[in-house]
Symmetry: C2
Subunit: 331 residues, 2 copies
């Protein structure tokens, strides 16, 4: 489902990261980084809550706004029952909608916010996402086998919190359109190869978005997927060509391959993942390039693998989805 927007603007964004992300190529562009994985909290789970709440505090500070200015708070994360988002909402104390699309959660939130703003239902919306590497490892791979080797196709859940303040008031970057994705099932069953799982969803959504808006790849300076990783990225380029006859290779990059130095930071294997991965790359780098007009139009396609450990143990397929938004530099 593709929708155009006239009056949806990004007032500002914020990013908070853990130590491993702070060693990556975007290091100097994050608003805050921590040197350990607990950030002064008592547990990994509350540490993730701190990542998200920190990102909101930083965002409100940048804009000289108060929590009470927020009409609506939309958030999602990987913790069971999206606990990070709920506990953050408990601190924000503003109307809250909880969402989940795995690593596609950020664009789901931005699309929902755009809809509320475009319809003038409200004027100021904050969308937040987070993930925490150790919370995800503990939850999705319990019992976690320390030291067990992972295949090169595995991705590394990013640790961070990221927030976006959206308004109806003109700013330097706007959300021009969006496409809500359709769940794809390509008989994938390997949670250690998420790139292969998610590439068809990204392809389907990119094709829908371009078709529905009568656009081509040339309408964008950059097409950016969420977190397919180095192998998923290649699969997507091939898949777009063979399935839809569209060559994205000259305009395309993947946030999962941009968050870390894949040569130096070998632990991340094929790249970063987690709901915050694409948000960290887009908010620390891409939005700034749109603000200063280095980039004019970017198609941001967050991708999510839909499953849970029980379903995987039961040999159910891992499904995928991708939601796209078109970001434009405002004249």
């Amino acid at each position: 489902m593709t929708t155009k927007y006239k009056d949806v603007y990004i007032a500002d964004v914020s990013t908070v990261v853990g130590p491993y992300e702070a060693k990556g190529p975007l290091s100097k562009r994050f608003d805050r980084s921590y040197e350990d994985m607990y950030f002064g909290t008592d547990s990994l789970e509350t540490a993730e809550v701190k990542l998200m709440t920190d990102s909101i505090d930083i965002l409100l500070n940048k804009l000289k706004k108060d929590k009470s200015d927020i009409d609506l708070f939309i958030a999602g994360d990987l913790q069971n029952q999206i606990a990070t988002s709920s506990y953050t909402a408990g601190k924000i104390k503003r109307p809250f909608l909880g969402i989940y699309s795995a690593c596609a959660t950020n664009t789901e939130g931005l699309i929902m916010a755009s809809n509320f703003l475009e319809s003038k239902t409200c004027d100021e919306v904050v969308v937040s996402v987070s993930s925490h590497n150790m919370v995800a490892e503990k939850q999705f791979r319990n019992p976690t086998e320390y030291g067990a080797p992972k295949p090169g196709t595995a991705t590394f859940t990013a640790t961070g919190g990221a927030s976006c303040y959206l308004t109806t008031k003109k700013s330097k970057v706007r959300i021009a359109s969006s496409t809500i994705g359709i769940v794809q099932d390509y008989d994938q069953t390997d949670p250690m190869d998420m790139g292969a799982v998610m590439a068809p969803a990204a392809a389907n959504t990119i094709n829908d978005h371009l078709n529905n808006l009568d656009q081509t790849v040339d309408d964008y300076d950059l097409i950016l997927t969420g977190d397919l990783g180095i192998y998923g990225k290649e699969i997507l380029i091939d898949f777009m060509k063979t399935e839809y006859g569209i060559d994205i290779s000259n305009k395309y990059n993947d946030c999962g391959t941009m968050l870390y130095d894949l040569e130096e930071q070998k632990d991340v294997q094929a790249g970063g993942s987690g709901p915050v991965c694409s948000a960290l790359v887009v908010y620390s780098d891409i939005i700034k390039k749109l603000q200063n007009k280095e980039l004019k139009r970017v198609l941001y396609v967050a991708t999510g693998a839909l499953f849970n450990p029980t379903m995987v143990f039961q040999k159910e397929n891992i499904l995928s989805i991708a939601h796209a938004i078109s970001l434009e530099s405002v004249e």
Copy 2:
């Protein structure tokens, strides 16, 4: 956040239940009931997927619609990573947004759908929820202690799937307004007493809804909470009086106390719960009374307890939220 709608109608609804719900007082009003807990599937988790997909098939049949008529599918459930909704979306193959507000998920979905319809972003939206007693027991109380007594304040997760087809086309029942709730934290820590956890959220949302619309209790024939159970119901009546000076006692009921025969079905303790609990009561009974004008205006306030087992083990408070919609019989 309270919003009024002009053109949001409920075309029809559907309900599918398990054996225990089929023995309750609403028995004859459900569209389909099963006699075991697996419904011909291989696992409890895929059984829950069947509940949700069945409810959509029944709904489409009633309306002589096809899956391709659905512009947008919104769904949520209690399974980790809302797996029921994702796997159902994998069968529906329409644009999908996953949501989570625990047992308040149904009204979250209906509010989101209303916003998409009112803004003419799309014309036909299906909202689905589900829960499965044994999936919830397995997931939230693992290792499940068979035969261990539960306190009388505990509630019983309902087994069922429920769907609602919303359109911009006039029908006999409309959604007239909604209020998105704010997360409440009243230092509650007992997952066996959810009524006490959720009552303040229901109170806060009812008060906001009435205030923001300049309404009183007299504007409604019925105020209906999600699943507070017998004790939570009493707490809400008291809380509304002492905190907001509002007496709801003459107009008020709770879906958790209506789904089962609390005298005969002792296993349910204080009443039913789960995202599907309030949906089963509203869709099998209340909507029909609105359709035939036995009821004119109903305030439906689904209530959710926000936590996960890890957070409870770590002695974090259990938070709560409630989202309200006003249902009106159309002249």
